[in-house]
Symmetry: C2
Subunit: 79 residues, 2 copies
């Protein structure tokens, strides 16, 4: 079973990396980009076979290691 | 219009960051994680209103700046 975790900075948290990308895109002539946010995506191959169980396990991974929940939010998709 | 770009290392390209996450998860007692790949996600707010045009523009951004197409693959979703 595969899981995909997407981790983004929470709204309102300054994202200098995203801002740097926006600035670089503008410099390369890509106008019309109003805002950029950068985050992480983590793909996990799990040996679990139960979808609900896998989802709960991945949420625990996010809380303990993958995301800094003070400033980041995460979403889990199980495929 | 919002676009989401997901950038992952191509299959076969060594991913030491993903491997470090797998190792750390294992150390924290999360067994049953067979493989981990880490990538980037970039969310763009675009002023373009035409979906096909926005998609082509974001693909150009990926080719010129966002992704290193020698070792990375990207997917673009327009919402």
């Amino acid at each position: 079973m595969k899981a995909r975790v997407t981790i983004m900075l929470k709204d309102g948290v300054l994202d200098p990396q995203g801002e740097a990308i926006r600035h670089a895109l503008s410099g390369l002539g890509h106008k019309g980009v109003d805002a950029v946010r950068q985050g992480k995506v983590i793909e996990l191959d799990l040996s679990a076979t139960d979808k609900a169980e896998a989802e709960a396990e991945v949420a625990r991974m996010c809380e303990t290691l993958l995301a800094n929940t003070v400033i980041e939010k995460y979403t889990v998709e199980i495929a």
